[in-house]
Amino acid sequence: MTDDPSVVVAPPLPSAGSSLHRRDFVRLLGGGIIVLFNADLSDLLGQETRTRGYPTDFNAYLRIAGDGRVTIYSGKIEMGQGVVTSLAQMAADELAVSLDSIDMVMGDTALCPFDMGTYGSMSTRFFGPALRAAAAEAKAVLLTLASEHLKTPPDTLSVEDGMVFLTSDRKTRVTFGQLAKGQKIVRTLDGKAVTKSVSEFRVMGRPEKRRDARAKVTGKAQFAGDIRLPGMLYAKVLRPPAHGAALKSVDTSAAARLPGVVVVNEGGMVAVLHSDPEAAEKALALVRADFEVPKPAFDDKTVFAHLLSVAGEGEEREKKGDLAEGEKRSVSLFEAKYLNGYGAHAPIETHTALARLEGGTMTVWSSTQTPFPSQQAIAQAIGFATENVRVITPFVGGGFGGKSAGLQAIEAAKLAKLTGKPVQVCWSRAEEFFLDSFRPAAVVRIRSGLDGAGRICLWDYQVYAAGSRSSEQFYDVPNNLIRTYGRWGSETPKMHLFATGPWRAPGANLNVFARESQIDAMAAKARVDPLEFRLNNTSDKRMRRVLEAAAGRFGWKKAAAPSRRGLGVACGIDAGTYVALMAEVRVDAATGSVKVGRIVCAQDMGVVINPDGAKMQMEGCVMMGLGYTLSEEVRFDGGRILTRNFDTYELPRFSGMPEIETVLVKNDELTPQGGGEPAIVPVGAVVANAIFDATGARLFQMPMTAERVKEALVAVSRKP
């Protein structure tokens, strides 16, 4: 698929797409040294849903072949997070081979063992350690073989660059390829393998150029929409004007008269297909359909009251002390409500899939974060056995939690089955905004109190519709209660009118916006510098260190807010990583528009495997975070989605780019923690706090659009 042989994203089809039994599976691999391992905790939960027929005791494996090449097979996928590079780095280092001798086979249900999917900063955190252990195990096997081959005890041997040699005489040596050739050694990782310590890293810990970079800068990297098959048709599917609308009648006759158009009207799906995607689009415009649209129940403004009214019973997440006691001790009380509307994932690549039926197997190239669950969903939808469906995941053009449901892959497979032709479904931008699962609109209510010594003595936290992620208390609060209502995944009925789903760090952005805004309001009331206030109120060492690191780089000078300088601080914990941000903003009082000039991000993420990759993720998080913070909001009226393209859904742009400085706070005692999401989490809060510092106006709703900022400015100027 690419001209770079070291990146195999979608390998060629094997002759049959049938299920793999463990024996056959090992035979198919053609020998070598194979280490099977379990690489993801979430998969333990997914055991029962695994495809029958597949070996089930591992979800990834590593193989050293007779030519010395190392291949890692994993159902994880590459969507920009860089795992094609970082995972290869880890294996190369543990095995002591060059990065170039490692191939990655990812996201192909016929070649890789079952995997739940790629999300939640999991790849490095859970996959990484398991992969490293597997590589270490393979190296141990190689050492034993080499010791037999060279007839010398293992402790006289050294390993370097794919070779085992006598430490005292480098010329007495044998290559991994020679050792692996003709072998059929299969090991299952038992957790005993010893991996390298940080000081022994050779490849890990070093900046590495992305291995997929060349393919991506030449336009050769293939995404699902780039695959061309002879005779393929491009499909356009009829969509209702609103969620919840019912099709009453449809007339496809005008569309059918266009030359070359194939019309499908089957089982509730109406689609037009053509060998030219634009002709298919024209045909769709000729389809006349009558829908019954339900009366709008609420819209993007009234949704918050709606959420509170249907929230139902709360769930306690954290409880300490006694709220009444905290209230008694409080000399000042703070009560506020924080809001956030629906957000879209809006990857630049819309959901796309190409399906082909051949020899009883449905092969689907799909832009998906979850190839295996998608395989099962497709099989069910078209009435095939799971093993007769193969999902191949080429490069994915951004996911952010949105490419999980896989509706487009089901549609392509259904249409391929009905027409007998290969069929591509590529959503238009309006379809993407209509069918994507949104980050749920949500509300946080906080009641907090300060005692006479400026310490937080009360924290009563309630979050509606977002879930508890990143709401955990790290301030030293004796009376603390955190409750969630209708969190994502267990919503009360009728809570949302359309599908909701995880968005980069689900729920955490609002939770941190709310908590850190509230903390800031308390600091301002106490007339204490917001950094100092935080340090006074937390004894959490990791949090103190990231705050201090950020302050050092930023050149933070103490002042109580609002100081009119436009400076803010916020911090949070996500996916095991601690992060502190400091920002400088300018607010245009006339228009309400906010310009973020500079952001410093300090992060403690445990051992850092690829510092450059980690910094890139941090910069990306900060930049992407400015979108949910300042401009991104889905507009809707009932089930009708009014947001249809990027003119009204405003993503962060170059002109809004602040100077971004990143600091990695060293913590080599801790295994690698999440890197893909944490830094996005406090962006809303740091900007809100900087706006307050600049103007004295506090924003309680994201995104903080110019309009809302202006409203807040007017409100504050009216105050006595």
Binding site: M79, G80, Q81, G82, K209, R210, D212, A213, R214, A215, K216, V217, T218, G219, K220, A221, Q222, F223, G225, D226, R228, S275, D276, P277, E278, A346, P347, I348, E349, T350, F395, V396, G397, G398, F400, C426, S428, R429, D612, G613, M616, E619, G620, C621, V622, M623, M624, G627, N645, F646, D647, L651, P652, R653, F654, S655, M657, I660
Partner: protein, 154 residues
């Protein structure tokens, strides 16, 4: 309906018999198999479909193919010469100016046209010149660095 259209594509003359009202984007992606040029929004808002026509960056999703008659069209596939990356491509790769890579061809083509006009742009000229190209992975920082690397005085 079919038009006879000749133009230069990536330095080579090309002749097409197609409906001239079809967009350049889809003619490139389907008839010509040049899938490096991406579809992102179809309405001129994202820049994923950017190609260079007679030294100008254009949105191929908005351009009927008949409009390039007699012109010089360069796509991302045309930048690499004899297996050697164009300096911009190399800089994007080396500076990490990409994550998922989906916006990348459009970004590079837009930057290519920008540098044709302004070989030594200031940082604010780069930001202004790239402003209408969207990157959801938010690789902006590195993209600007990549462009600066190519354009900065040696």
């Amino acid at each position: 309906m079919r038009d006879s259209i000749s133009f230069r594509l990536n330095g080579k003359p090309i002749h097409l018999d197609v409906d001239g009202d079809r967009t350049l984007l889809w003619v490139l992606r389907t008839d010509l198999g040049l899938t490096g040029t991406k579809f992102g929004c179809g309405e001129s808002f994202c820049g994923a479909c950017t190609v260079v026509v007679d030294k100008e960056a254009v949105r191929s999703c908005q351009m009927p193919v008949k409009a390039v008659r007699g012109k010089d069209v360069t796509t991302i596939e045309g930048l690499e010469q004899n297996g050697k990356l164009h300096p911009l491509q190399a800089a994007f790769a080396d500076s990490g100016g990409l994550q998922c890579g989906f916006c990348t061809p459009g970004m590079i083509m837009n930057a290519y046209a920008l540098l044709l006009k302004t070989p030594k742009p200031t940082r604010s000229q780069i930001r202004a010149g790239m402003d209408d190209n969207l990157c959801r992975c938010a690789a902006h920082h590195r993209i600007v660095q990549a462009i600066e690397r190519v354009s900065a005085p040696a």
